[in-house]
């Protein structure tokens, strides 16, 4: 083989590898559909989107699971948002350089802690705390899960929001300060609004992280597939889509209705995360085009 041919082979391999991510996304979708779509044949749609999940008796209503996921995610992001954005503002706008150099690795540590470890700490620390604090029969509640999810979402929110704040041109801050505005007013009136799409992206990706999280939620939410209908449902056990798949897939027969429905839940999760990520990258892409226009 000549050198020329060798080069061609290598270039070919690299090109194939370059397209591999498209291949994998497609494969994932194909296999989810292949195993999950038959669920629509085995269970009537009206039953699939009903409110009772009790597979042993043939009830496959995934609505409580979807609502469980949405409720836990919503509460998690409400917790993660103020903490995450404040920390990002502090790191980007207020902290001296050395403090930043110390704190950023700490946030990275949190991002690196496996979710099963957070779930374990959740069981031993948060569950008893929630039970006694709210005087509940059990500490395995949606709120406990939401707190752990917030811990999981915070590093994502912090790092992306901080990046967004860092890309705000210094001339904005200088212009504001030159007008006699204080640094505090500059941060909240100029810098943060200028970075608002970045912060929005951060929140969306945080939601994406929380939505797809499995082990931590499964270990502390009590896994009761009940409809979260009232506001205080968050203080009761509930069940998310991810936890349902993880806890039940091990026990079902391949190809059974239950198996198909679990894959169908996988399709729903896939589409949700797809929507969130496409929207987030669309938002940040538009912002980039806009700022390129302004700065040019």
């Amino acid at each position: 083989m000549s050198k020329q041919q060798g080069n061609l082979v290598i270039t070919g391999i690299i090109k194939i590898a370059g397209y591999s991510s498209i291949v994998f996304v497609t494969l994932i979708l194909i296999f989810l559909l292949r195993e999950g779509l038959p669920a629509l044949g085995s269970v009537p749609i009206s039953q699939l989107f009903s409110t009772i999940w009790y597979p042993i008796q043939g009830y496959f209503g995934i609505l409580p699971l979807i609502l469980g996921t949405l409720l836990v995610t919503l509460v998690a992001i409400l917790i993660a948002l103020p903490f995450g954005v404040c920390t990002a503002v502090y790191l980007s706008e207020i902290a001296p350089k050395w403090v930043k150099a110390v704190l950023k690795p700490v946030i990275e540590i949190l991002a690196g802690i496996p979710s099963v470890v957070l779930g374990f700490i959740g069981i031993l620390v948060f569950v008893p705390f929630i039970r006694t604090f709210f005087n509940l029969p059990t500490g395995l509640t949606g709120l406990t899960g939401a707190i752990l999810l917030a811990l999981i979402a915070i590093p994502t929110v912090v790092s992306i929001a901080e990046d967004a704040l860092n890309t705000v041109p210094d001339s904005y801050r200088q212009a504001a300060l030159a007008l006699g505005v204080t640094r505090w007013q500059t941060i909240w009136g100029v810098t943060l609004p200028a970075a608002k799409t970045g912060v929005l992206t951060a929140v969306m990706l945080g939601v994406g992280r929380a939505l797809g999280e499995t082990m931590a939620v499964m270990m502390v939410t009590g896994n009761a597939p009940v409809m979260p209908t009232r506001l205080n449902s968050i203080l009761m056990p509930l069940r998310t889509m991810t936890a349902t798949i993880a806890s039940e897939m091990g026990e079902v027969a391949t190809g059974s209705t239950h198996y198909q429905v679990l894959f169908f839940i996988g399709i729903v999760l896939f589409l949700l995360s797809l929507a969130i990520n496409v929207a987030a990258s669309w938002v940040s892409m538009r912002q980039r085009q806009r700022s390129e226009r302004i700065l040019s």
């Binding site: 080069n7 270039t11 690299i14 090109k15 590898a17 370059g18 397209y19 991510s21 498209i22 994998f24 996304v25 994932i28 296999f31 989810l32 195993e35 103020p82 903490f83 404040c86 920390t87 502090y90 207020i94 700490v106 946030i107 990275e108 540590i109 949190l110 690196g112 802690i113 496996p114 099963v116 470890v117 779930g119 700490i121 031993l124 912090v158 204080t182 505090w184 007013q185 990706l205 939505l211 797809g212 999280e213 499995t214 082990m215 270990m219 991810t242 798949i245 993880a246 897939m249 091990g250 679990l262 894959f263 996988g266 999760l269 896939f270 995360s273 797809l274 990520n277 496409v278 990258s281």
Partner: protein
């Protein structure tokens, strides 16, 4: 602005600063507290026997050796598939790809891969590797599943590392008569190596700690002996933690914390190495 309203603004602002500081502390301190707490509660359990013996008495005694070995196998297995593929994909995007619709599609695919929930990767691995390709619940299936999950991290970080190599390096190399591949191999890759290695470690760090993708693709509840081939199932630290904290009643807390500590040392050790490589490379960088 008159003087009194200015003073009240200043008071409000310093209260605001204090609040931001407090919230940041409220974010940081629990993280350090968590790690410190696990170290304090877990280290009494750590002994030579704990690290090198198999669990006994329904996991309530003995060690966690099979889980440690399993995690090492899975990490190596994941690296074998994801590192060459991820770095090659990074090279393609950074050095070959034109700025066109196909490349945008690749980027979109990478973003989506990184957003797919880990348990969905588990389902995919079950459907493709375990059932369709008939690899069974095995180290092979689990490693392949983890590889695809790790891929987006490795691709994006290696692309970024190569992207940050100044273009003048490539121009000089090509003007001396080097081909594009020679330029990549001799100039771009060596310069980007620390960044790539950092990305690889961070990607594998995630794979080490994941439970959901291996639940139905390769993790075993309890195995008396070590796996002997890639087609065997294996115990793994994250799944073992799940098992001993939710499935085994009357589990001694000490063993639980000890196991968690071992996993944390794995993960944070990798994190530390990645940080060190990155800092050293930044300090040594000439451009």
């Amino acid at each position: 602005m008159d003087k009194s309203s200015r003073t009240s603004t200043l008071i409000a602002e310093s209260a605001g600063y204090t609040l931001v500081h407090l919230i940041t502390l409220a974010t940081i301190i629990p993280i350090l507290g968590l790690v410190g707490y696990i170290i304090a509660k877990g280290s009494p359990a750590i002994s030579w026997q704990f690290l090198t013996a198999a669990p006994t008495d329904g996991m309530r005694a003995g060690g966690i050796f099979p889980a440690i070995v399993g995690t090492v196998y899975l990490t190596i297995g994941t690296a074998i598939f994801s590192v060459p593929l991820g770095v090659a994909a990074g090279i393609y995007i950074s050095e070959y790809a034109a700025d066109n619709a196909a490349t945008r599609l690749i980027r979109l695919a990478i973003i989506n891969l990184s957003g797919i929930p880990s348990v969905v990767y588990g389902l995919f691995g079950l459907g493709l590797f375990v059932i369709f390709l008939n690899f069974g619940t095995s180290i092979l299936s689990a490693s392949l599943t983890l590889s695809i999950m790790t891929l987006p991290v490795i691709i994006s970080t290696s692309e970024e590392a190569m992207h940050s190599v100044p273009n003048s390096f490539r121009v000089v190399s090509t003007s001396l008569g080097a081909s594009r591949w020679q330029t990549i191999r001799k100039i771009v890759l060596p310069q980007a190596l620390p960044g790539i290695v950092t990305g690889v470690i961070l990607g594998l760090e995630r794979a080490v700690g994941e439970t959901a993708p291996i639940l139905f693709t390769g993790a075993a509840f309890y195995l008396p002996q070590l796996p002997s081939s890639p087609l065997d199932a294996t115990m793994a630290l994250p799944y073992h933690i799940f098992v001993i904290s939710t499935q085994v009643p009357g589990m001694p807390v000490e063993i639980q914390y000890g196991t968690v500590l071992v996993l944390l040392v794995f993960v944070l050790g990798m994190n530390l190495i990645a940080t060190l490589i990155r800092t050293r490379a930044r300090a040594k960088r000439v451009w």
